[in-house]
């Protein structure tokens, strides 16, 4: 059994949320699971999504370090898993796993959490998935309009949208577990839309903790960001996430 740090991180503004995720990634921390909310709400764009597209006025827009489509973060609990990817010498956690395999392990954690709340989700089946042959159709702008084999689906609608970033040594995967459907259409669904009895964010967080513990075969030990990680997150807010022109390749050095 591996030990992961559990950071129950409350709610933060959009730029701070992405900066805190990336600080964990850059600081070289041990395996960490961060759970958090968004206040105020925000729209996050995938790393490579064009930023010149007209976007709803009055919404804070941030660019993720991860790929995929845009997400409107409002009624959701977000998870972020950061772990070393080292191979032979350090198995356990997510060491050595390919992109699809690491998705599968982490999404098993979310599947178990949903199941404990009374929701039966499943990984996308072939008839759920966008046809990869239809290259004339550009990928949808919004994450929850897209379908791929790692997605979690309930009644044909997507309930979790996740994205991953990798360096040679480390993995970051964050994902939105919807409490309510996205405001833009019928292809998403939230936990609270599916259950007759009221479910709080606390219920969802606790279910996620237990689900990830089981899927990762890990003990999640409560903790918080350390002083170096907080300083790095503040730098990342200033120099990256509040800067509309940042390029990934303009790197920010981790703390020494």
């Amino acid at each position: 059994m591996t030990r992961w740090r559990l950071v129950r991180d409350g709610e933060h503004a959009p730029a701070a949320n992405l900066a805190r995720d990336e600080a964990l990634f850059l600081a070289g921390s041990g395996p960490t699971l961060r759970l958090y909310l968004w206040n105020p709400p925000g729209l996050s764009l995938g790393y490579f999504q064009p930023r010149d597209r007209p976007l709803p006025p009055g919404v804070t827009v941030v660019r993720r370090p991860t790929g995929g489509g845009a997400i409107f973060h409002r009624c959701e609990v977000t998870y972020c898993a950061v772990a070393p990817l080292a191979t032979r010498t350090m198995r356990g956690a997510l060491g050595g796993l390919s992109i699809p395999d690491s998705y599968e392990v982490l999404h098993q954690g979310v599947l178990r959490a949903l199941e404990s709340l009374g929701i039966r989700a499943h990984l996308a089946r072939p008839n759920d998935i966008d046809s990869p042959d239809d290259s004339s159709e550009p990928a949808a702008f919004l994450c929850f309009q897209r379908r791929s084999p790692t997605d979690l689906i309930v009644q044909g609608r997507k309930i979790v949208g996740s994205a991953q970033r990798r360096t040679r040594e480390r993995l970051l995967q964050h994902g939105s577990v919807l409490l309510r459907a996205q405001p833009d259409g019928p292809r998403s669904v939230g936990v609270q839309d599916l259950l007759a009895s009221p479910v709080t964010t606390e219920d969802v967080c606790q279910a996620l903790v237990q689900g990830f513990e089981a899927a990762l075969d890990a003990e999640l030990v409560p903790g918080s960001l350390d002083a170096d990680e907080i300083l790095l997150a503040e730098r990342l807010v200033r120099d990256r996430y509040e800067d509309p022109h940042w390029r990934r390749s303009s790197r920010i050095a981790p703390p020494r």
């Binding site: 790929g67 390919s98 992109i99 998705y103 994205a163 990798r166 040679r168 390749s249």
Partner: protein, 127 residues
């Protein structure tokens, strides 16, 4: 078959040296591991890259990953056409899917790269 005349890194880049210039790409194994490629971000001509450090990023359907430089030097040419036609990289990673041409800063770094046979052994150990 992987080209015999190339040098390889443990992190799945290849290097072809011609005079003082190294053409650099990623191997078929890296392309396969990433699977469906959708976007790439490469540096500009004149930028400097450092061995072992990221020089760009590539997005496949479910992950954004670093591209790492196998040698140190100054970029003299970038395969800019790839951004619009990533199927070239997927289909011909050792040929028209090259990424950068780098003027070598330190030719001794080439000694850290390995032969095609050693690269096959690395892949066998990883699998």
């Amino acid at each position: 078959m992987r080209p015999k005349e190339l040098l390889y890194s443990e992190t799945h880049e290849w290097v072809k040296v011609n005079g003082g210039v190294a053409t650099v790409g990623i191997t078929d194994h890296a392309v396969e591991h990433l699977s469906d490629l959708v976007y790439i971000e490469l540096p500009r001509k004149g930028d400097r890259v450092t061995r072992g450090q990221p020089f760009g990023t590539i997005e496949s359907v479910k992950a954004v990953s670093d591209l790492n430089a196998p040698v140190t030097g100054t970029i003299v040419e970038v395969n800019d056409g790839l951004a619009d036609q990533l199927d070239i990289l997927a289909g011909d990673p050792f040929g028209s899917g090259w990424l950068l041409k780098i003027e070598l800063g330190d030719a001794s770094e080439l000694e850290a790269l390995v032969s095609p046979t050693s690269y096959e052994e690395i892949l066998a150990r990883e699998s």
